[in-house]
């Protein structure tokens, strides 16, 4: 499929560059807007080059407190979102790897029932069970807490199934060799299963971190106080219906700041991520 004729390569590159421009331009434009004053943004046309108010805008948004969200700084929102995304990603991985471990390697009564129970939850989207879940959180007094934000999103059928599929490819002889070598269930998990799952864990972490970072509906329900908002909620609150009432330059700054962590996670873990999706190290 790879052709070495120059015209073909040129066309391929042109198409790729156009694609990148289509994806990257809005982000660039957001960045440009985030370095202008509110007046400059409201007076079209917007310049295509960054303005001179980078430090001003960014420090104002990060540490100054933004009026429309009750004077809370974007730094606080970033922190909240980070806690939530990390909590969901790490929690999900821990729970699903352990439940997959139990389902694949242990014979206990009701094993298949549990497996199917987990599997069935795949068919229920979050929105369907959001009201009962909300009621439970209210009863437990978890509104406006990190626990309330993280806990309900942690149980995951998808990740459990993914680990299950991976564990099933581990040859039975390896398990037996470990038994002969005197490795109990916990040792086997820690010394053999975990290292072999590294790439899968990394790939899942990236996916789940972004999933957690971009949550909207659940944090909207769970948080009332501005200090507990996540960045996506904060962003929404900053935008008023009246155009002139919105501090667009700060909104743009928040947008850029909201994009950065997921990009960082993807870039830093890209190597692992790709390996986890493509090959299984065996």
């Amino acid at each position: 499929m790879i052709q070495n004729n120059p015209v073909g390569r040129l066309i391929a590159h042109v198409i790729l560059i156009i694609g990148i421009l289509i994806v990257a331009f809005p982000i660039y434009y957001t960045f440009v807007a985030s370095t202008q004053t509110l007046q400059e943004i409201l007076r079209p046309p917007l310049s295509l080059l960054p303005g001179g108010h980078f430090w001003e805008n960014y420090s104002a948004a990060l540490f100054g407190g933004v009026g429309r969200i009750g004077g809370v700084g974007v730094d606080r929102l970033l922190f909240n979102t980070l806690v939530m995304a990390l909590g969901i990603a790490i929690g999900k991985i821990c729970i699903s790897i352990l439940s997959a471990y139990a389902i694949v390697f242990f014979r206990f009564p009701g094993r298949m029932i549990f497996f199917w129970l987990i599997f069935i939850t795949l068919m229920l989207p979050v929105e369907v069970r959001i009201l009962p879940t909300y009621k439970i959180m209210v009863d437990l007094g978890l509104i406006d807490t990190y626990t309330g934000l993280i806990l309900p999103l942690m149980a995951s059928a998808t990740a459990t199934l993914l680990f299950r599929q991976f564990f099933m490819t581990i040859p039975g002889e390896l398990v037996e060799a470990a038994r002969v070598d005197g490795a109990g269930p916990w040792r086997f998990f820690k010394d053999i299963l975990l290292p072999l799952s590294k790439t899968n864990i990394a790939a899942l972490f990236v996916i789940l971190f972004i999933y957690g970072w971009t949550q909207y509906l659940w944090p909207l329900l769970m948080t009332n106080r501005n200090e507990m908002s996540t960045i996506v909620i904060g962003l929404r609150k900053m935008i008023s219906f009246a155009d002139a009432d919105t501090e667009w330059h700060l909104v743009m700054v928040t947008c850029i700041l909201a994009i950065l962590p997921p990009i960082l996670v993807v870039v830093l873990m890209q190597r692992w991520f790709v390996r986890g999706l493509v090959e299984t190290e065996k």
Partner: protein, 356 residues
């Protein structure tokens, strides 16, 4: 080092599938016992029961005169070499070998010494820092052996360890395993379906079929005196020729009605099989009846020269047989040959397949 004793060992899967039907084997200290049989005969199940990887339905397994039925694999003081080697893919060769020792809480310097010694014996010293992925099949096999050796267990268990290697390497590793086992003097149980491997390795050979033991003995004894037609056709390549015969008052009758002289042979009237190894036939030039042997007519179907010897395929009394001839054979297809089976090389089996 220890002896291994199996008494009436049975394995039943579910409620009715009997995979192993009451087996008794006693293996002396330091001996290498080979379990051989076709696939599905229960030999691997039996090995896994000795290892503790499979529960024992009935009977007892003793290692070093101690009943180990209820002990887990790690507590039985055994080491096992698996067919696919089962090396830990993420660990270096060194760690693969050290893992079992670490789990037993052995001090670091002692582990180091043992691993290095084993690596020396197996010529793995250069490879200790590699991962299994970077090793060839033969090297992986050696690491699997090393993992067993470092533990210096009471018993080695081998589950078809050579079947993933190519033929040349298999021959080489076979010799190495034998030497190593001799050198270390560790009691071993070795499972294979390859009769050649079984013959060359075994001190005691156990031929199994359909969950039962067909015959136990020294390899050459079994070769020379197979207890049943199953053993006769399983051990030896090409297998023993078996020709059904009927007896009447005047002699023997083959399936196609050919009558042959059978002085001094006592054949039961219910019918029987005569067996003879391919190499035990003498091709006779004339048509004379040989004294002290059975003279038979063979029609040649084809000749297979393999270099040092030739296999002549033919028909005797309606049954296909093989004759092994040293060097090149001068026979051609459709030739009629007169072959003689010396009486002392003749095997007789009853209608039930048991040796008479």
């Amino acid at each position: 080092m220890a002896n291994v004793e199996l008494t009436n060992v049975r394995k039943v899967y579910g409620s009715s599938v009997e995979a192993v039907k009451g087996i008794n084997i006693a293996i002396e200290d330091g001996a290498l016992c080979v379990l051989v049989g076709p696939s599905g005969c229960g030999k691997s199940t039996l090995l896994r029961m000795i290892a503790g990887l499979e529960s024992i339905t009935d009977g007892t397994v003793k290692i070093d005169n101690k009943v180990v039925n209820e002990l887990g694999p790690a507590e039985r003081d055994i080491a096992m070499v698996f067919q696919n080697y089962a090396l830990y893919p993420h660990m270096k060769v060194y760690d693969n070998m050290a893992y079992g020792l670490r789990n037993r809480g052995m001090p670091k310097d002692q582990i180091d010494k043992r691993v290095k010694d084993a690596a020396q014996i197996l010529e793995l010293t250069q490879l200790l820092e590699r991962r299994p992925k970077e090793l060839s099949g033969g090297q992986r096999q050696r690491v699997a052996m090393g993992r067993a050796i470092v533990r210096s267990p009471k018993v080695f268990l081998f589950d078809e360890p050579l079947s993933n290697l190519d033929a040349k390497l298999r021959g080489q590793m076979r010799v190495e395993i034998k030497n190593l086992q001799r050198q270390l003097g560790v009691t071993s149980v070795y499972v294979t379906h390859d009769q050649l491997e079984a013959m060359t390795l075994a001190d005691i050979l156990v031929v199994m079929n359909a969950g039962s033991v067909e015959q136990i003995g020294a390899p050459l004894d079994i070769y020379e005196k197979p207890a049943s037609t199953f053993v006769a056709s399983f051990i030896g390549a090409p297998p023993m020729n078996l020709v059904p015969v009927k007896a009447d008052h005047s002699g023997l009758v083959l399936k196609d009605g050919t009558r042959i002289g059978a002085e001094g042979l006592s054949i039961p009237l219910t019918g029987a099989l005569i067996g003879f190894r391919p190499e035990d036939l003498e091709v006779s030039a004339g048509t004379d009846t040989h004294i002290g042997g059975l003279a038979l007519d063979l029609k040649v179907l084809g000749v297979e020269p393999v270099g040092a010897e030739s296999y002549v395929y033919g028909i005797i009394g309606g049954e296909r047989v093989v004759v092994r001839v040293p060097g090149r054979s001068t026979s051609n297809t459709d030739d009629q040959l007169r072959v003689i089976i010396p009486k002392q090389k003749l095997h007789l089996f009853g209608a039930d397949g048991k040796r008479i």
